[in-house]
Amino acid sequence: MEQSQNLITTTYLITREDYVNLSISKLKIDGKSPYTRRQKVVSFIIIFFVSLFFFRPGELSSIILCALIIFSGYFFLFIFDMYMVKKLAANIYEKEKNNLLSQTFSLYEDGVSIKTDKYSANIPFNMLYKVYEDDEVFIVCTSIVDMKFVPKRAIDAAQCNVLKGVLQKELKDNFVKL
């Protein structure tokens, strides 16, 4: 692959912000999966039934308590998780930052290349599972769980457009904008 024309090459080290952004993007990807949605909906139904334990017909205080439990469940399942993910990602980054290696990402006409001190891969487009793009990052997936990523801060606007254009053209439906 490296004999084909190199379109972009960039080297970057993952920062705390990158790590947090990646975790948010992963959350968005998970949010698109029916499994996560189903899990959240089932949890919410359980919370709803648990709240019925406190329900006494005609008693205002019990109705308020039930509403409070249901609202809290909704808040923690569907709103608060974003905050938790950010906090957790920052904590993991602090623990792992000494093990993170700088990465070199290259885009070729027929695929992408990713290199670190311990890993190197020249992946043709047809071997990629999906590529996701959001405001901060491109996520290159080789399976539903294996992800490599390129922060947009590591490339300029023109390179970003080239990367997006090539990936869109080559991957078609497997290029997903989050």
């Binding site: 334990f53 093990n99 290199k115 311990k118 890993y119 190197s120 891969a121 539903i144 294996d146």
Partner: protein, 192 residues
């Protein structure tokens, strides 16, 4: 990445198999993932279940009404704990194996044949697309079973060597080499 400055001690060729991958992922989850906490969940909901059953029994034994409408809290509690127990005992293991199957099917690179070269201080995994080096100090554990060798590293990456792809001598050499390198991180058992 200068990986070929020395001659490897052992070179093996193998291929990932879906069944082994599923079983290995399940074992890894049992050792350090979500299934590790399964027993806590099972114990917790068993206690909740027993508690609600106990309360319902004494309510019925006492002079309270023996109708469902007056005891529905307890019935709901029993149902909830039963559903949770079903989740931990039956659903979660199946879910993990199903997820592993999905990962395997979605990863085309994993389905390529690969070569593993063992060096004194590290090993090199390579296929048509990827090259990956891991030092022996990066390895969390290695399990040898009747069918496979499993090597798991600290970064959650798992390597599986199918014994059916290796000769008798290769199996023996690999077992001795890994035992020598990993010492107490190496385990031999008949199955996962």
């Amino acid at each position: 990445m200068d990986l070929k400055e020395k001659k490897p001690i052992i070179v093996l060729n193998s291929k990932w198999k879906k069944e082994s991958y599923k079983n290995v992922m399940y074992t890894c989850e049992k050792k350090s993932g979500v299934l590790k906490r399964r027993m806590i969940g099972i114990s917790f909901y068993s206690v909740i279940f027993a508690g609600f059953l106990f309360l319902l029994y004494f309510r019925i034994l006492g002079r309270y009404e023996v109708s469902l409408s007056s005891n529905w809290h307890f019935v709901c509690g029993i149902l909830f704990s039963l559903i949770s127990l079903y989740y931990y005992v039956m659903f979660l293991p199946k879910l993990i194996k199903k997820q592993a199957e999905k990962v395997f099917d979605s990863n085309k690179i994993l389905q390529l044949p690969f070569k593993v070269s063992f060096f004194e201080d590290r090993f090199l995994y390579e296929n048509e697309i990827e090259r990956l080096v891991r030092y022996w100090t990066d390895i969390l554990f290695c399990i040898e079973t009747d069918e496979i060798f499993v090597i798991k590293d600290t970064g959650n990456i798992v390597f599986i060597l199918e014994k059916s792809d290796l000769s008798k001598k290769e199996i023996e050499d690999t077992a001795n080499f890994l035992r020598d390198k990993l010492v107490n991180r190496y385990t031999k058992r008949s199955n996962l």
